[in-house]
């Protein structure tokens, strides 16, 4: 895999741009009236994303499909009350996260956090410069199987770190939406993503050198 080298002056900053979403073609009134075209678009766009999110948490096949059905059930039950103040995918992801928590409670799994905050604070000096500088990622760039490896490495993150990372990187949600979906502050979100990336890098570099 080769890394694109930005040429024009502002391309580096432009890589922080958001991706396009389903929101731009959404007609809420048609959706509430169960217009088949709008429904079909909604399912085509969102169902794979919901399943991907569940896959990242180790939930696949029938269990994942069951949770997605429950998610849609709740969505349509509450759709009439949805006024469009937040984005519709934020609303749906929020429902999914709650369904996932219910599922975990039912299967007696405990979510726990670790010391993301401590690791983050250690990485920067009080003036805001790096205290532990990240190394050149040449080994990651040369890894041709990175796409496959990253799915395995995601299992090493906590649920919160994985969800934060995927919502921003895979789903392209804005940081504001991600905070709303996960119920965390912007600084917490930042810490989760920072820690997730640190762990992924360690895991992937370990695989690259193996």
């Amino acid at each position: 895999m080769s890394l694109e080298t930005p040429q024009a002056p502002f391309e580096l900053a432009d890589t922080l741009l958001e991706t396009e979403s389903f929101e731009s073609s959404l007609d809420l009134i048609k959706l509430k009236n169960r217009d088949p075209v709008m429904l079909s678009k909604l399912f085509a766009d969102m169902t794979p994303r919901l399943l991907r999110m569940l896959a990242s948490k180790g939930i696949y096949a029938e269990t994942a499909e069951e949770i997605v059905h429950e998610c849609w059930e709740t969505f349509f039950t509450n759709l009439d009350k949805f006024e469009g103040r937040s984005k519709i995918n934020t609303f749906i992801f929020g429902i999914l996260i709650n369904k996932l928590r219910e599922h975990r409670r039912r299967s007696n799994r405990i979510d726990f956090e670790e010391d993301s905050e401590k690791v983050f604070e250690r990485s920067f000096s009080k003036d805001g410069w790096w205290s532990i500088e990240p190394a050149d990622p040449y080994r990651l760039i040369e890894n041709q199987q990175l796409g496959d490896s990253i799915q395995d490495c995601l299992k090493g993150l906590t649920d919160a770190q994985r969800a934060a990372f995927l919502i921003i990187e895979a789903e392209g949600e804005s940081s504001e939406s991600a905070c709303e979906i996960l119920g965390v502050s912007i600084s917490n979100l930042r810490v989760l993503i920072f820690r997730a990336k640190g762990k992924l890098r360690l895991c992937l570099e370990g695989e690259s050198s193996a």
């Binding site: 895999m1 890394l3 694109e4 002056p9 502002f10 580096l12 900053a13 432009d14 890589t15 922080l16 741009l17 958001e18 009236n33 169960r34 217009d35 088949p36 429904l39 079909s40 399912f43 085509a44 169902t47 794979p48 399943l51 991907r52 896959a55 499909e65 997605v68 059905h69 849609w72 349509f76 920067f124 805001g128 410069w129 790096w130 500088e133 990240p134 190394a135 050149d136 990622p137 990651l140 760039i141 990175l146 796409g147 496959d148 990253i150 799915q151 990372f165 995927l166 921003i168 990187e169 895979a170 392209g172 940081s175 912007i186 979100l189 930042r190 993503i193 920072f194 990336k197 992924l200």
Partner: protein, 105 residues
């Protein structure tokens, strides 16, 4: 050390020596630049865009961090791993369940 890194280090040292003497922080601090990368925050003005670009061209550590983030972004998007047929079936079932009933009175 690669040539690009050497050049970046020289430019970085010159900039920050002068900037800190004159108390200039135009090119931002690492913590803020990496926050913008992590949160995928779009620079609001052309000045902000330039400040981030300047920092990423002066600071090898942040450039490395930015490159790693890009690599992860691409890797995670490249790997959807879903069964297309099963997905289509599921969407058909969803349409049947939640679509408008044609038999409604």
């Amino acid at each position: 050390m690669k040539l690009g890194h050497k050049i970046r280090k020289i430019a970085h040292d010159i900039y920050y020596k002068n900037a800190s003497k004159k108390k200039l922080e135009f090119s931002l601090i690492c913590r803020d630049v990496t926050a913008a990368i992590d949160l995928r925050q779009k620079p609001k003005t052309i000045t902000d865009k330039f400040r981030i670009w300047l920092h990423l061209n002066l600071c090898q550590a942040c450039k490395n961090y930015h490159d790693v983030s890009l690599v992860f972004s691409k890797a995670i998007k490249k790997n959807p791993s879903q069964d297309a047929e099963r997905l289509e079936m599921m969407n058909k079932l969803l349409m049947k369940k939640f679509g408008k009933s044609e038999d409604k009175e």
